[in-house]
Amino acid sequence: MKALIIGCGRVGSSIALQLQREGWEVTVVDENEDALSRLGEHWPGSFLVGHGMDVDLLREAGIEEADAVVAATDGDNTNVVIGQVAQKRFDIRCVVVRVLDPGRADFYAARGLQTVCPTKTAIDTLTEAIRSCVISPAVA
């Protein structure tokens, strides 16, 4: 299976390393050459420097043969545009997009894009943590 990951920050690089360990063939794209260091000293996959909205670069990165595309740059809008291009122009079935703003995450999810919103997850987890730590002393 081939995965293309756009954005090699903490999130993108961790996904890349995880998928690579699981046997995926992984290509990573980032605007910044230094981001390669996040993939460790012996990254066996491909790494390309450039912007994820550049269609020529996406082709060079093998988007046409990709089974999955992950858009995980630090820009919500960049991610939703890349995600839609992967879906609509390159017919990639599995496209996952990181969107920090819950409003935009919902809007694009309703339009058929698989969005993951870490902010919403954090809100839910934190709320749940508060609930459980308030309840437990009362129970004990």
């Binding site: 909205m53 269609v55 809008n77 960049t78 939703v80 839609q84 291009v85 935009r104 809007f107």
Partner: protein, 220 residues
């Protein structure tokens, strides 16, 4: 008319000012603090500070009314794309105009159905093509929805079409000659029109037929 202008750089601020002078109601949205402070001196309550790709910022600017017109004029193409999509699809704004900063991103706007768009670089390049004579086939107009374009071709002495009637030319399917400009005077092109060196010919064609047309008219 009520217009929301996203992006208070040179383009957005000038457009907002022009719309206000025409008597329209305008809200300008700018994210950067220093730019916003400068704009506020001129536009007062008609400029709001915020990220125009955030729903609450757009709603504060009255997107739910909805406005008659939304102009996505920031310096970031991805932001303009998202603003245009949200305005059209979430708030059912009838008219959305988006600015394309990098002409290579035009394809993304087309893919996502954002039209009309304006790209300064493409407009300047079209003028350059028109002004620089060695470009023998000039793109004059792109009819995006119709999937057609209008080009101008300069016939010269070496052109195989010079001295021939239009009906005798083996024009490609999906291409027609519209008019012939000779000595400052234009005529509608008909089958009997004979092309001559120095003619400027307008043609309408499907994108991608340029090379075939060039071969028939200019053999290049």
């Amino acid at each position: 008319m009520y217009a929301v202008v996203a992006g208070g750089g040179k383009v957005g601020a000038n457009v907002a000012r022009s719309l206000l002078r025409l008597g329209h109601e305008v809200t300008l949205i700018e994210q950067q603090r220093d730019r916003f402070d400068r704009l506020e001196e001129e536009f007062e309550h008609q400029v709001q500070r915020g990220d125009a790709t955030e729903l609450n910022v757009l709603e504060r600017a009255g997107l739910a009314r909805p406005p008659d017109l939304v102009l996505a004029l920031t310096g970031d193409d991805e932001d303009n794309l998202v603003i245009a999509q949200i305005a059209k699809e979430k708030y059912a704004v009838r008219k959305v105009i988006a600015r394309v900063n990098d002409p290579r991103n035009q394809a993304h706007f087309d893919l996502l159905g954002i039209a009309p768009t304006v790209c300064a670089t493409s407009s300047i390049m079209a003028l350059v093509e028109h002004e620089v004579p060695e470009h023998e086939l000039i793109h004059l107009l792109e009819l995006r929805q119709e999937n057609l374009e209008i080009v101008e071709v300069q016939i010269d002495r070496d052109s195989p079409s010079a001295g021939k009637r239009i009906e005798s030319l083996d024009l490609p399917d999906g291409a027609r000659l519209i008019s012939v400009m000779r000595a400052g005077h234009a005529e509608i092109a008909v089958g009997a029109t004979q092309l001559e060196a120095g003619d400027q010919v307008l043609a309408i064609l499907e994108p991608g037929k340029e090379d075939e047309l060039r071969r028939v008219l200019l053999r290049r």
